[in-house]
């Protein structure tokens, strides 16, 4: 154990901070603190341009190995980058699904051709990705996916038919990774393939779904004879489940660090609001603020511990607690934000159904306990996989 940062890390921190200070200026200055949860829809094009700006400075995908165009940054450096990014008010990262989910999956399981074809677009902030797992009848029960993929012997292309739902960011994305059934009649985890599907084609229809926040981050995605080249299947036609699960493992990995920094910004805002309106004089609010701070530090230390010691997989059980912990913490922060605002909490500003940042935090955090595995499913996993309790009968 050594919790001290070394001189090289501190130099790295200064480098990140000064780069961000210089570049979050001019046309990008307006992006500071924008695009977080509840504010996903602001400045989408500008934020895509910002991704390219980051890429030009070599600040996308810093954790990827150098052989794939990353910096091979250490965990400590990735933490530092995320901290400084949050401190500078860097905007919500549109490229994060590609950078933290698709990229690492390609690096681990993709062929050299696939890597060469798709990694540069992600790294350069040119191509954006979304996740096509859930379907109307496959939510918690992801193995119930019904979307079909058939290989057309003549053209050598896969034809995809079916429907995905709750696909975040589909309207802003270029590609979707889709799990689909390659074996007719197969059930559960068997007979699934993992496809990288271009969204800009006649066989794909995207329909936004309005959320209770009034915005539409997620979508329905319909595939009607959508085409996917045989080269765009990762793993074999029956290895989709393994690939899909490995990808979820990355979701619980380094990608959580950026999120924690965002949480820190939100907590700071809640504290500032409490100072502003005097709610910080209320002893109950003070205690809840302290609790929130404690919870955030717990997450921080815990993920440092997981990430630093996790490479050999020895802490994989411990890693299972993370989603449940942060989603519950964030939901409570949303409640706290509303209680700090008091009567003001219900007011909307501006035209349409425009939420303030703290309202967005409150409403958006209602979904945190649902996506990426609901809290109930997380508890089942902790009990059955980490603690080894008898399994509940499924299906």
């Amino acid at each position: 154990m050594n919790l001290r940062s070394n001189a090289a890390d501190e130099a790295f921190r200064r480098e990140v901070a000064s780069w961000l200070e210089q570049h979050l200026s001019g046309e990008f200055a307006q992006l500071r603190h924008r695009g977080g949860p509840g504010d996903e829809h602001s400045f989408v094009e500008e934020r895509k341009a910002w991704e390219r700006e980051l890429a030009r400075g070599g600040w996308t995908c810093i954790g990827w190995p150098q052989s794939h165009g990353g910096r091979g940054a250490t965990i400590e450096q990735q933490v530092i980058f995320n901290e400084e990014y949050a401190r500078a008010g860097g905007p919500g990262r549109i490229g994060h699904i590609g950078e933290t989910l698709m990229g690492p999956t390609l690096i681990a399981y993709g062929s050299a051709e696939q890597q060469a074809r798709y990694l540069p677009g992600i790294r350069e902030g040119r191509e954006f990705w979304c996740q096509g797992y859930s379907e109307p009848s496959a939510g918690s029960d992801l193995g119930n996916v019904k979307t079909r993929a058939e290989l057309d012997a003549d053209s050598g292309q896969w034809r995809i038919n079916g429907q995905k739902v709750w696909t975040s960011w589909a309207t802003e994305s270029d590609y979707c990774f889709v799990i689909a059934r390659t074996q007719p009649g197969s059930v559960g985890h068997k007979g699934l393939g993992f496809f990288m599907v271009a969204l800009d084609q006649p066989g794909v229809t995207i329909r936004p779904i309005e959320q209770l926040t009034g915005s539409a981050e997620f979508n329905e995605v319909f595939f009607d004879d959508a085409l996917c080249s045989a080269e765009d299947l990762i793993g074999g036609p029956e290895q989709g489940w393994q690939v899909a699960m490995a990808l979820l493992g990355f979701e619980r990995g380094v990608s959580t660090l950026g999120q924690q920094m965002l949480f820190q910004n939100e907590l700071d805002q809640v504290v500032a609001a409490a100072r502003d309106n005097g709610a910080d004089r209320d002893p109950i609010i003070r205690q809840r603020i302290a609790d929130a701070h404690i919870g955030l530090r717990i997450m921080r230390y815990n993920s440092m511990r997981m990430l630093a010691g996790g490479e050999d997989g020895s802490l994989s059980k411990e890693a299972m607690i993370y989603k449940l912990y942060w989603s519950s913490w964030h939901r409570n922060l949303g409640n706290l934000a509303m209680d700090v605002l008091g009567a003001e909490a219900q007011l909307l500003d501006g035209d349409g159904y425009q939420l303030s940042r703290l309202q967005g935090l409150f409403l958006y955090s209602r979904a945190d306990t649902i996506y990426g595995g609901t809290n109930q499913i997380q508890r089942n996993l902790i009990a059955e996989r980490a603690l080894g309790m008898p399994r509940e009968p499924r299906g």
């Binding site: 939510g139 918690s140 409640n335 909490a345």
Partner: protein, 363 residues
């Protein structure tokens, strides 16, 4: 001690429930979201016909002469159907406030009696501006305003009040921020009378919200229970999973345990609304908690569907979030309970548990 409701009370509630079940399906509430006024005049008229605004007005003033225990289930029912129209406020807040002032200030009585009659007849809408509520719901639809200035109460026609519309997260509401000037001509209750009036008004307002929160909570849990039977995952209804059952069972416990304090508070308000602070605050806190838990857990049971605009659950959830903060939020009401408890002569102890109020127990 008897917590049961009599047959008349039950029948009144059933009549209202039948009316709202017929006239207020969720899509009608959504239609109101598109309209400027946010009010369905036909339904508002039917509520007047049922006698809602006259319920708590003494017979001598042309009302039905009932009290808060008669009204409490109706307020709950309004919450259950997420009624957007301000019927609870009209009956439990505006009308009784007029009555209090009529009783306390004979010189204003004739004017206010006439207004009260119009209110009961559904010919005038009266909005009440209490300092705890910086925004007045349906201010734009009000003909008259009863407003606080310090402790004094002023009565102003809509023409003398400047309203800035502000939007609520609950699209069923039509909030306004008010600007107005008090004058000798608008004064209807001086600071001494007004202090008592506002105290009673706050208790009635908070009681009305507590009852509506209960109804909202109940309705959300019912929707989630129904969904848990319909929605299949892993080849069976999601409701078979204990994790899902427990989410809703927890709500049921909270709701039931909030119900008795709410009815208890109604009784205290009926006896003496100015001395009901602790009972009302208790009710408001626990009903608010029940509604918050019900919103949270019901959304959870619906999964991603519960997070959509299309899912009707949001109608109830958002109302609950808003009503929980109106007429004093949880912090305000917990503080009132706390203040009451730490008084040197606080009437606490087993002999006060069951409604002896402030009469010392005879031993």
């Amino acid at each position: 001690m008897d917590f049961t409701f009599n047959q008349d009370q039950q029948m009144f509630t059933e009549t209202l429930a039948a009316l709202l079940a017929a006239e207020l399906p969720a899509d009608r509430i959504r239609q109101r979201w598109q309209s400027d006024s946010g009010i369905d005049a036909a339904l508002a008229a039917q509520l007047v016909e049922l006698g809602l605004p006259a319920m708590l007005v003494p017979e001598a003033l042309g009302g039905l002469g009932l009290d808060a225990t008669d009204f409490i289930q109706l307020a709950e029912c309004c919450g259950r159907f997420a009624l957007p129209e301000p019927a609870v406020e009209g009956a439990l807040v505006a009308a009784p406030l007029l009555v209090d002032i009529i009783h306390g200030n004979p010189s204003a009585a004739p004017r206010l009696t006439a207004l009260l009659e119009e209110l009961m007849a559904g010919e005038a809408a009266v909005a009440v501006g209490h300092h705890l509520n910086p925004y007045v719901n349906f201010a734009g639809q009000a003909d008259w305003f009863l407003l606080g200035h310090g402790n004094a109460v002023h009565l102003l026609p809509a023409s003398e009040v400047a309203i800035t519309a502000v939007k609520s997260v609950d699209p069923s509401r039509r909030l306004g921020e008010l600007a107005w000037r008090p004058s000798a001509a608008t004064l209807v209750a001086d600071a001494e009378l007004g202090a008592a009036c506002w105290r009673a008004t706050l208790n009635r307002g908070a009681l009305g919200n507590a009852a509506q929160l209960l109804g909202l909570a109940d309705a959300m849990v019912k929707q989630a229970v129904a969904y848990s039977a319909d929605r299949q995952q892993f080849g069976k209804p999601i409701g078979v999973n204990q994790a899902v059952k427990h989410l809703l069972a927890d709500c049921a416990v909270q709701i039931e345990f909030a119900r008795a304090p709410v009815y208890r508070a109604a009784y205290t308000v009926a006896q003496a609304a100015t001395r009901a602070d602790w009972a009302v605050s208790h009710a408001k806190v626990v009903a608010g908690e029940a509604a918050q838990l019900a919103a949270r857990n019901s959304i959870q049971v619906f999964g991603a569907m519960g997070y959509t605009w299309e899912c009707d659950l949001q109608i109830w959830a958002k109302r609950g979030w808003v009503l929980d903060r109106e007429w004093g939020d949880a912090g305000f009401h917990k503080n009132r309970v706390h203040e009451w408890l730490v008084q040197p002569n606080a009437l606490i102890g087993p002999e006060y548990t069951f409604g002896r109020g402030d009469q010392p127990h005879a031993r």
